[in-house]
Each structure stands twice: as structure tokens, then as C-alpha cells.
């Protein structure tokens, strides 16, 4: 292990990590939004949209992100839709994540007792109010373990971005190994930086899950 090499590479990896983090978290935010929207639409059985969103879930759950990104980035320009690599990353991650998140939220919404809904309605709340004030807050807390697992999964999936020539951690490591053959140093840095990204999320997830178990104790 050559420490000079490591200090020399650190800034490069740091920059790559920032890109991974930026795209990763934008993707996660999009995924939560899309997932929430999809879950609510499927829950309320909105006529046409429901079928559209169900098809969307099936398609994105059953294809790899690598293929989705390649399709967005290389194939769509041929029919006149040009998207920059970074936006491809957001979209790919958001759409893939949305299909996973929607399942998580849906099981949360379904678990909330219909008594809650009926009581709120009888208090004179509108359907929309019931959703915002009664159902979603409870559904959220119920689906948190699944959501955290999905976030970790999405942040891990960012490793395929190098395929659409985004200079993320994976790209950086592969590039440096190819240039200078410092395999051991490059791979160690790669592991360390992924740990920096993912370990906090994982720990936070464990803490949240434990707290939630207290919250649901006795029910």
C-alpha cells in the first residue's frame, strides 16, 4: 500500500463521491415523490392512471438499471429525445426507485385501519385531508424500514452510472486502475468512499427501525 498514491488520489475520489452523492440523493428524492404519487393513485383506484402506473411498476421493477440507463442515454437520442448523462442518472434512479418505493408506501397505506379513515371522514374531513393528515403520516412511519432499505439499494445502484460516462466513484477507480495499475490503493479507496456514503444511512436505518418497534409496541 503506497500512502503517497492514496493522498494523491484523494481529491479525485472526493470529487467523484460528490457527484455520486448528488445524483444519488436527487434520484432518491425523485423516487420518493414518484413512489408516493403512484401509491396514492393505485390506492384510490383512479381509473386509467391506475393501469398506467401498474404497468410502469412492472416494467421498472423487472429490468436492470444498467439497461434502463443505456436505453435512456444511447437509444432515446435516435428518436429525437436527447437527455444529458446526469439527467439520465436522475431519471433512471427516480423511475427505478419509484417503482420500489410505491410498493413500500402502498403496504403502509393498506395497513392503516379503515376505522381511522371512517372516523376522520365522519369528523367532516375531505378525502384529501384524510390522506394528508391521517393516513400518510401513519403510513410513513410504518413503511420507514422498507424505505430505508430502498434508499440503500438506490445509492448502491449509482455504481452503474459509469456506463453512461458519468465520472462517479466506479468510473474513477476503473480509470485510475487502467492508467497506473495501483489496483490495491484504488480499490481500497473505492471501498472506503462507498462506506462513507452508505454507512451513515445504514446506521440511521437501524436506529429508526428500533425506535419504530417501540412505537408499535402493544398494538
Amino acid at each position: 500500500m503506497d500512502w503517497n498514491v492514496i493522498t494523491e488520489y484523494l481529491p479525485l475520489y472526493w470529487k467523484a463521491m460528490l457527484l455520486t452523492l448528488r445524483i444519488g440523493w436527487i434520484g432518491v428524492a425523485l423516487a420518493v415523490l414518484i413512489g408516493l404519487m403512484t401509491a396514492v393513485i393505485i390506492h384510490f383506484r383512479v381509473p386509467v392512471l391506475r393501469v398506467v402506473f401498474k404497468i410502469y411498476i412492472e416494467i421498472f421493477r423487472n429490468t436492470p438499471l444498467l439497461i434502463q440507463l443505456s436505453f435512456l442515454y444511447f437509444a432515446l437520442p435516435k428518436i429525437g429525445i436527447k437527455i444529458s448523462a446526469e439527467v439520465c442518472g436522475w431519471l433512471g434512479l427516480g423511475l427505478l426507485g419509484g417503482s420500489y418505493m410505491s410498493e413500500a408506501f402502498r403496504s403502509g397505506i393498506e395497513v392503516i385501519d379503515s376505522v381511522q379513515r371512517e372516523s376522520a371522514l365522519s369528523l367532516g374531513m375531505t378525502n384529501f385531508q384524510v390522506m394528508i393528515h391521517i393516513i400518510l403520516p401513519q403510513a410513513f412511519s410504518y413503511s420507514i424500514p422498507a424505505v430505508v432499505a430502498n434508499i440503500i439499494f438506490l445509492l448502491k445502484e449509482t455504481s452503474v452510472f459509469s456506463a453512461v460516462s458519468l465520472i462517479d466513484l466506479m468510473f474513477r477507480a476503473k480509470d485510475l486502475i487502467g492508467l497506473y495499475y495501483n489496483t490495491a490503493e484504488c480499490l481500497t479507496l473505492l471501498v472506503v468512499f462507498y462506506l462513507i456514503i452508505l454507512l451513515p444511512v445504514s446506521i440511521l436505518g437501524t436506529v429508526l427501525e428500533r425506535r419504530l418497534r417501540y412505537a408499535s409496541f402493544g398494538t
Partner: protein
Amino acid sequence: MQALGLDVLFKGSNFLRLLEGLWKALGISLIAVALSIVLGILFGIVMTVRNPVVKAVCRVYLEIVRIMPQMVLLFLVFFGTTRVFGWNLNAEAASVIVFTFWGTAEMGDLVRGAVTGVPKHQYESAFALGMTKAQAYLTVIIPLAIRQLIPQSMNLITRMIKTTSLVMMIGVVEVLKVSQQIIEANRMSSPNAVFGLYLTVFILYFVACWPFSLLAKRLERKWSN
């Protein structure tokens, strides 16, 4: 057809080559799935042991697999171990090792969840009916655990098949790589081939994964009540 680049598919043996590529990816994932199921069940049983040392080791293994992207694991095994230990490893073998390493941990966790998820009163009622331990496990606990386990492991299998698309990054010539080769070869004659081929790959992966998802969903619904 020409505009969408689908014509390239039917030139020569292109479509057959794509299918061969898909088979290669599927083969890797199926071997890994088979190994993971066997090893995962063992690992799951080990995880239910109450020994703190065993527990800690299992926990660390599980966390490593959970946190490290599969691509990083692939790089570590394919470039890292070969460099450090000086052995030779072809890309397919490295992929099988990595996916088994990953699948075993995930499968083990599912097995553990299924076994510990059986409510305590099921054990107690079985014993109260005068069953022996073997009878209780064989006729009550294991069937209950399997009902929870099978839909979840179906989902895991889908995820493993999807993740095998990454093996292209360490140089396995699977379906995406084959389609890139075809696109390169036909760059001049049909510049739109990239659309048709990537669309085909997209559909091929969907066709490979969807049956498992459907089955998982159906079984889950069937056994939920």
C-alpha cells in the same frame, strides 16, 4: 423497421447471438441462485444461533453485503484478489463467486426472518397438542416458514437476475455487450441499430424477470390468508 434499427436484429445470426448473451447472464445468475439457496438456508440456520460471537460474525458479513455495491464486490474479486493473491480467475467465475457471496447473505436473512417470524403460539399450540419437537417442526413450523420464504426468495431471484447485467463491466460477453458489438459492426449501414437493440435487450430482461415477480405475487396473495 429501418428507422428504429430493428432490421439489424434479423441480419445474419444477430438475434441468436443476443439470446446466447442472455443465456450467459442467466446461466451465471442461475448457478449463483442455486448455490445461494443451499448456502443461504445453512447461513440462516446459523444466524438463529444465540452465541454472541457467531451472531457478531454473521452481522458483519450481512452488513458488508448490504452496504457494498455489487459492482464494487465484482471489482474486488476480479481485480483485487487476483492481484493480491496472484491467482487466475476468469470473469464468469468471479461473477459466480460474487453473486453467491451476496445471495447467500440475503437468502440467509430471509430464512432467519421466516423462521423467527413464526409466532410463538404456533410452537406452543403444537406442543400442547402433544406433538414431539420433530413433529412440530415438520408439520407446523417449517410449512409456515416456507410460505413466507418462497415469495420473498422469488423476489430475490429477480433481483439477482437483474444484477447479473453488471458482469459486462468486468468483461463477460453477455447480452448488453453482444448488442454493443452488433451496434458497432453495423454503425455505417444502420446507425439507428442502437435503439432497436437496446429496446430488445430491455424486453429480453423483462421477459426473463417478470415470471418470477408474477409467481411471487400470486403465491403471496394465495398464502396471505
